[in-house]
Subunit: 244 residues, 2 copies
């Protein structure tokens, strides 16, 4: 398996790309690559490229870009708003939502949230790592963590928001999903409180959906919903990734 | 939230139920419950019951069963065969497959499996814990871990086996899913090898399905597939659990 790295630099044939010190350490010291070894690069804008290491030491590495393997292409338009769960479960949502093709993640804080801040730098590093692993051409956007009411106030009115509801009236997911720009909202472990549910019920773009009779943990609900959306309205009608 | 415990004993009005020493420790020392405190019980056969602690000390506890909250009911008929991933990812599959309503889990060992044995006792404990948490009325069956070829030889011919394929020809999941008894097969991190794929292609009950252009980790694929099956052919048309 050729190593795949996300970089900020522009990518084009013959381009000379310097990677971050952490990436240089990874390539040289951890993976023990040397000059001439192949690496795959993507930046979220220019597609995916074959490159070769030109120089590598402990603190710096330089690659030369060779040929384009895949062009940049539109990706499914689905967002995830979620009350961050604790520790490893947050890492888990971050990784899985990336694999499942979420275009944007936004941590939101609700009345019953236990986790009231998020280490954005750490989360962004996880998003990049997961995107590198799963062969995405983009890294999901990490929207600024915000209180739920602000995130709802900023929600675009032409994007459907499917609220994963544990209680109260809801429609079965498979029946409720519609094509077009979408997002899912997952609450904290203790669920949304009454005032939040009332506010959500009053939003024209929000639809409460149910995920069956078992009580799903928040991260399970998020991933289950993203998977169902991808299968039905996303890019799962396409086969595995092919490189030219 | 009332504590919910899985027990082996028969459950009926007025029954006297002794729990395991570990459960007694949990009730008495961890949760600090005392005589008269309510506990919910289920055993996978007799539905779900309200009970009250009659006696509890460090090593033993006894409960008296009061009224039935939910009758036992048929559950979705979907199985999961999977090459066990390492450490926390195995715990993760165990927990999530339980939440997502898998009726049976069977670890299988393939040519590229890195994990070649499973701690069944630990896995069973996780299944029980997850079933208690997610309000299932059953604990998934843990079928004996086996080499893939034996598990396939033992596969019932009237049950469809959807093979989550990273490579080779496959049908999109949403299009391939059919009603009736089903199972999913997920390979190890390195994928199935050619001889395994050839053997699978020759099985009349097996259908290769694809989960889109991103490379999903094995545990992500398993959970995504179970979620899509539940949404389409399982019990997600039903709302959240209601107690009588």
């Amino acid at each position: 398996m050729t190593i795949r790295l996300h970089v900020d630099a522009d990518l084009a044939e013959g381009a000379d790309v310097a990677v971050s010190p952490a990436q240089a350490h990874y390539l040289g010291s951890v993976m023990r690559l040397g000059p001439g070894d192949p690496v795959i690069l993507f930046n979220g804008r220019d597609g995916e490229w074959a490159a070769r290491l030109a120089e590598v030491n402990r603190k710096a590495a330089r690659l030369v870009v060779e040929t384009r393997l895949r062009p940049q292409a539109p990706e499914p338009d689905v967002w995830l708003l979620f009350a961050p769960p604790k520790g490893p479960r947050l890492d888990f949502v971050t990784e899985k939502a990336t694999e499942l093709g979420a275009a944007l993640l936004r941590p939101v804080f609700t009345r019953r949230s236990v986790v009231t801040r998020v280490n954005e730098e750490k989360m962004r590093a996880h998003l990049i790592e997961a995107a590198e692993q799963c062969e995405r051409l983009t890294v999901p956007v990490l929207a600024p963590p915000a209180p739920l009411d602000r995130a709802l106030a900023e929600w675009p009115s032409d994007r459907r928001l499917f609220v994963l509801a544990e209680h109260g009236p809801s429609r079965p997911l498979a029946e409720a999903l519609t094509p077009g720009p979408a997002g899912f909202l997952v609450g904290p472990e203790g669920g949304f409180d009454k005032t939040e549910l009332d506010a959500l019920a009053g939003l024209p773009f929000a639809v409460a959906v149910g995920l069956g009779p078992r009580i799903l943990r928040a991260e399970t609900a998020a991933l289950a919903a993203l998977a169902c959306w991808q299968a039905r309205h996303g890019d799962w009608a396409v086969g595995p990734a092919f490189r030219s």
